[in-house]
């Protein structure tokens, strides 16, 4: 039988683990590995959000559509 204290410990440990990975390990890795660091800078400059999953959420899709429309002479 798991006690309430053990449940709260599990909750805190899991949350802390997740935050540790995303807020400490991953930023450290990103700064240390040149390709990841370049990626981070590039994303900061361009404003691209890789976490967006549908095309209407990504501004660059509209720009791409516009460029191709002009390039392929549809306007």
């Amino acid at each position: 039988m798991i006690t309430a204290r053990q449940r709260w410990f599990r909750f805190s440990a899991s949350l802390a683990g997740g935050l540790f990975f995303f807020c400490l390990v991953l930023p450290l890795l990103t700064r240390s590995v040149p390709i990841l660091h370049r990626m981070a800078q590039h994303l900061e400059e361009t404003g691209i959000d890789p976490s967006r999953y549908y095309y209407t959420d990504v501004v660059q899709v509209k720009e791409s559509e516009g460029y191709l429309s002009e390039a392929l002479g549809e306007q």
């Binding site: 990103t30 890789p50 660059q60 002479g73």
Partner: protein
């Protein structure tokens, strides 16, 4: 999403008229279409339609005159184009009202409170910090404009008959456009405003309680029980947004939806989700309503955006990979769950999370199966987003081919844009467009999966009975029809309104200032609800033997090979003239 112990849902009920106001699928359609109707009336009925029409007509008249005058797009042509792009429905009073009341926690890097509150002083500090870069970019854009003006005047002096002068003018104008784009991006970093999202978040929570609570009441469930638990589901969604908008999490594609599941699961499997919260974990209701609204963003006209090569890469390769992966999963891997198989196959072959959501709802997959599928997609998307552009550069694959390859294989659109941008500008344009065309497949995929499940899979599971049309109708997930109806409606509106009005009022108003804002929230709520009602042990069962991973890896390997082959054939052998124009 539910499954009987045999693994397949077999619903032997009969449809009744009362289903229209008591069944979840129909209620999701009515709620979705209510939001769509309010948005359409607000923007087209009471919005600046007449003003926009006048300004668009004026700009287009000017553009026609410029196009008749010169063999290239002149400065005046581009300025008219910029004027059209500035017209946005979201700038109207209704648009501003909806945008402000549906705001979710924003981006932050080191201080999580930045996601919720920004003071005047903080906004001013950010603007002041970005100002030197903007001033520099603005000066460069002004210089480029001067050079472009001089070059265009020189071309005009020769009556646009001097090829060299025309070429020079076109090149200088292109440089000016690039400088303008940089200046615009720099300017956006100097226009930070103070905000406090806490009051609007409270208001939004109450609004959602009312609209979903009304649905719960019609389904003969307790409004009060739902309302009580919804505060926790909403809170988890808000925290998910906060964590998902942290700069590093965003970079690796780990957004609000993923955090909703993770945070919810941590709570459910440690301190335990309180019983009084579970009535508010209406995963299917949130997802189905969200999907009906997503239909408004599935525009069939988009499939021609890059011509026939785009259709082959996105709409021919994708179903081949989907079907082959599903068959592989059934016949070779012998996946114990057909629904998990089809959700992973759709997730990997179509477009990641959004395809997984639509397919899972269409075949009534378990929420654990959706969770597992999305988890796989996130991990492989992060890896592919980094490795693919590096590999393409290393082996010397041309930008356009590389872009088409990444667009057709990397799961999420944001990651595709990121990977395309790392490779180059043209790669970004091609990759993002191919992905957009694939996104449009969601509607067709959901419909075909729903039909296949009703007609074939459930029939196989229910061998003793013959099934009539009435029962097939009863089993068919009706919300898919709502999803398709929204898609067809908006596709018709998009093609009939004219490009200018479609961009400014339909996409820039009804969608971006209405349906999309709600859709985003509904999906985040559903993932928070999934997390809060998911048991780790249940989830681990589906991972047994590593079959879902093997399925994903094998399917994605086939996808990579076929997409590369098809992209090469289409862009370089069959339609090289299209590639030359890009």
């Amino acid at each position: 999403m539910s499954q009987a112990e045999s693994g397949i849902v077999v619903d032997h009920g009969q449809s009744k008229w009362s289903d229209l106001w008591t069944k979840e699928d129909y209620l999701a359609i009515w709620l979705g279409f209510l939001i769509i109707a309010v948005s359409l009336v607000a923007y087209f009925g009471f919005g600046p339609k007449a003003e926009f029409a006048e300004r668009i007509a004026k700009a287009e008249q000017l553009q026609s005159a410029e196009a008749a005058k010169a063999p290239f797009k002149t400065i005046a042509w581009y300025k008219a184009e910029d004027d059209k792009k500035k017209l946005k429905g979201t700038d109207s009073p209704f648009g501003k009202f909806v945008s402000s009341w549906t705001k979710h926690p924003g981006s932050w890097s080191s201080n999580p409170l930045d996601a919720l509150i920004r003071s005047e002083a903080q906004a001013k500090a950010k603007n002041d910090k970005a100002m030197p870069a903007y001033e520099e970019a603005k000066a460069k854009a002004a210089a480029a404009f001067g050079a472009a003006t001089a070059a265009e005047e020189a071309a005009m002096a020769a009556n646009f008959k001097d090829e060299a002068a025309n070429g020079q003018a076109k090149a200088k104008i292109a440089e000016w456009r690039a400088a303008e784009k940089s200046a615009s991006a720099a300017k956006s970093k100097t226009t930070n405003k103070p905000y406090n999202y806490i009051p609007t978040l409270i208001g939004l929570c109450l609004f959602f309680i009312v609209i979903f609570g009304a649905g719960m009441t019609l389904m003969k469930k307790s409004f009060f029980e739902f309302a009580k638990g919804f505060f926790i589901v909403f809170l988890v969604a808000v925290l998910a947004y906060m964590l998902g908008n942290q700069a590093i999490c965003k970079q690796y594609g780990f957004g609000a939806e993923a955090w909703g599941i993770l945070l919810g699961m941590i709570i459910a499997n440690s301190i335990g989700t309180p019983k009084w919260v579970l009535p508010a974990c209406q995963v299917e209701f949130f997802i189905k309503t969200g999907l009906v609204l997503l239909g408004a963003e599935v525009l069939f006209g988009k499939i021609m955006a890059i011509g026939i090569p785009g259709i082959f890469v996105a709409w021919v390769v994708t179903p081949v990979v989907l079907v082959c992966t599903f068959i592989f999963g059934q016949k070779v891997l012998k996946m114990p769950s057909k629904t998990l198989n089809i959700v992973v196959s759709a997730d990997m072959s179509v477009c990641g999370t959004s395809a997984a959501i639509a397919t899972a709802a269409a075949c009534r997959a378990k929420k654990e199966e959706l969770t597992l599928s999305i988890g796989l997609s996130l991990v492989f998307t992060a890896i592919m987003m980094i490795i693919m552009p590096a590999f393409i550069k290393a082996v010397g694959i041309p930008e356009i081919l590389g872009g088409a390859w990444m667009g057709g294989t990397i799961d999420s659109t944001g990651a595709v844009a990121a990977a395309g941008a790392f490779l180059g500008e043209k790669a970004l344009y091609v990759a993002a467009t191919i992905k957009m065309i694939q996104n449009v497949m969601i509607g067709v995929t959901a419909f075909c999966v729903a039909l296949y499940w009703c007609l074939v899979v459930e029939k196989e599971a229910d061998q003793k009975r013959t099934v009539g049309a009435g029962e097939i109708w009863h089993r068919f997930p009706k919300f898919v029809l709502g999803f398709l109806a929204a898609s067809i409606l908006f596709s018709i509106l998009d093609s009939n309104l004219g490009k200018g009005m479609a961009n400014s009022l339909l996409d820039g108003g009804v969608v971006k200032g209405g349906t999309k804002l709600m859709r985003d929230w509904f999906f985040t709520l559903s993932f928070a609800a999934i997390g809060l009602s998911t048991n780790f042990r249940e989830l681990a069962k589906y991972f047994k033997g590593g079959k879902p991973v093997i399925l994903y890896v094998c399917g994605q390997s086939f996808n990579l090979a076929l997409t590369l082959g098809m992209a090469y054939v289409m862009f370089y052998l069959v339609f090289p003239e299209i590639t030359a124009k890009i």
